[in-house]
């Protein structure tokens, strides 16, 4: 199995998750209110009163064979709005 970790703005989460389900993801988990730093600069929760949004952390566990399809589903959003993704190995507990 593989584990995918995505970090992207909260406002794109819904779009990304729908795209991954469509591409065959068996499930996902989302943590909001994530702050951080990347090439796009620092993201804090200070603007939370607007709907500007902090980051979200999306986790997907799936079969290795799905990786390519999920990558294609996610990449356009990450490219347009920023965000990063990482993969690692995992097994069912």
């Amino acid at each position: 199995m593989k584990r995918i970790d995505l970090f992207l703005n909260e406002r794109e989460v819904e779009k990304v998750c729908k795209a991954m389900l469509k591409a065959g993801a068996p499930g996902y988990s989302v943590m909001r209110h994530v702050t951080g730093m990347g090439v796009g600069g620092e993201i804090s929760e200070a603007m939370d009163f607007s709907s500007f949004g902090a980051n979200a952390h999306v986790i997907v566990f799936c079969e290795a064979s799905l990786l390519q399809a999920l990558r294609e589903a996610v990449k356009p959003v990450l490219r347009r709005y920023g965000g990063v993704g990482f993969v690692s190995d995992a097994e069912t507990f």
């Binding site: 703005n9 406002r11 209110h33 090439v39 796009g40 600069g41 804090s44 929760e45 200070a46 603007m47 939370d48 009163f49 607007s50 709907s51 500007f52 949004g53 356009p76 490219r79 347009r80 709005y81 920023g82």
Partner: protein, 344 residues
């Protein structure tokens, strides 16, 4: 007179709490108003100001002056981003110029509320329909900003202007109008403000008993919640000041001078329209203020190539404090000089 107005503003509770927030950041205190409490205050303020505006609009009716004023307000929210865009374009790429311009065309509800509180303390009356002007000035500037960005980059696409490492992705040839209009008119804060305005209008018209029942909530709490929110604004604005070094002298100058110029234009229009002193101040504040709630959220979605720290820092780190601390009393002094009190 002018200096006494400035002092009166500086020593009011909301402004003092704003300074307390700024001081906390300067002294490195760990004072913090954790998320989502600022959102609670902001939702409350929008709901309350919208509802009250609607109620007063129902009482005053939609007369000729009301419609003319609202029309002039919308006009300003279309003109300011265009003139600002061309000025900003001299130093910024089209995306950032458009995003900053949109901020200054739109309004800051909290600056408006602070001006209302200021008038209340001076016991100068103003009209409820100004809230309708406020509500209708939010969206047009967003649309103009996005259109300007698009016009300026069409043809020159693939221009290398990709800022902040983002690749510019030209999608199916052009503007995503659906997304743009949703951001411009259905942004949560705009939607709540306009919705509350209409509800206030409806309740005042059809079941006036309901107005009385809302009153302790929308009126009595208002000043205290405003203080709390300005405490948070002080914390955030002071943090933003650090980003300003990146913005540079040009943008900082713009952030201080644009409100003054826009306020003067607003003063001229107020005089032409024959607004009373209170409404004139509010109209000037609408022109002079820059959005840091609705517009940044909309720009991130519709012009992701622009750098948020530029447009947020200028509007929230410079223009907001400037207006709230010294702008409002200066505008008031101008109003007292140029607008006859007898009209009030």
């Amino acid at each position: 007179m002018q200096s006494s107005l400035v002092l009166q503003n500086l020593l009011s509770a909301p402004i003092l709490f704003f300074f307390l927030g700024v001081l906390a950041v300067i002294l490195d205190s760990d004072l913090e108003i954790p998320s989502p409490l600022p959102k609670l205050f902001s939702l409350y303020l929008l709901l309350a100001i919208g509802f009250r505006g609607g109620v007063e609009l129902a009482h005053s009716g939609l007369g000729r002056l009301v419609l003319l004023t609202i029309g002039a307000a919308i006009l300003m929210s279309l003109l300011i981003p265009i003139t600002s865009f061309f000025l900003l374009r001299t130093r910024l790429d089209p995306y950032n110029a458009a995003a900053v311009a949109a901020s200054y065309g739109s309004i800051s509800a909290v600056t408006f509320i602070t001006a209302q509180s200021f008038l209340n303390v001076l016991k100068i009356p103003f009209d409820g329909f100004m809230v309708a002007a406020l509500a209708l000035m939010e969206s047009p500037a967003i649309v103009i900003g996005v259109v300007m960005a698009r016009l300026a980059t069409t043809g020159s696409s693939r221009s290398g202007a990709a800022s902040e490492g983002r690749l510019e992705v030209e999608e199916s040839g052009g503007l995503r109008w659906g997304e743009l209009l949703r951001e411009a008119f259905l942004n949560g804060s705009i939607f709540l403000l306009i919705g509350s305005l209409i509800i206030g209008y409806a309740v005042a018209t059809f079941s006036p008993a309901g107005v009385e029942k809302m009153e302790p909530f929308t009126e009595k709490l208002f000043y205290g919640v405003l203080c709390f929110f300005l405490l948070d604004m002080g914390l955030i604005a002071a943090q933003r000041l650090q980003d300003l070094r990146k913005a540079g002298a040009f943008l900082i100058g713009f952030a201080v001078l644009a409100p003054l110029v826009h306020a003067l234009v607003g003063l001229g229009i107020s005089r032409l329209l024959g607004l009373n002193q209170g409404d004139s101040l509010l109209f000037m504040v609408l022109c002079a203020s820059a959005s840091y709630i609705a517009v940044p959220a909309a720009m991130r979605m519709t012009v992701p190539q622009a750098n948020p720290s530029l447009y947020i820092s200028t509007s929230l780190g410079v223009t907001f404090p400037f207006n709230v601390v010294v702008g409002i009393p200066i505008y008031m002094a101008l109003v007292q000089r140029c607008i006859p009190a007898s009209l009030g």
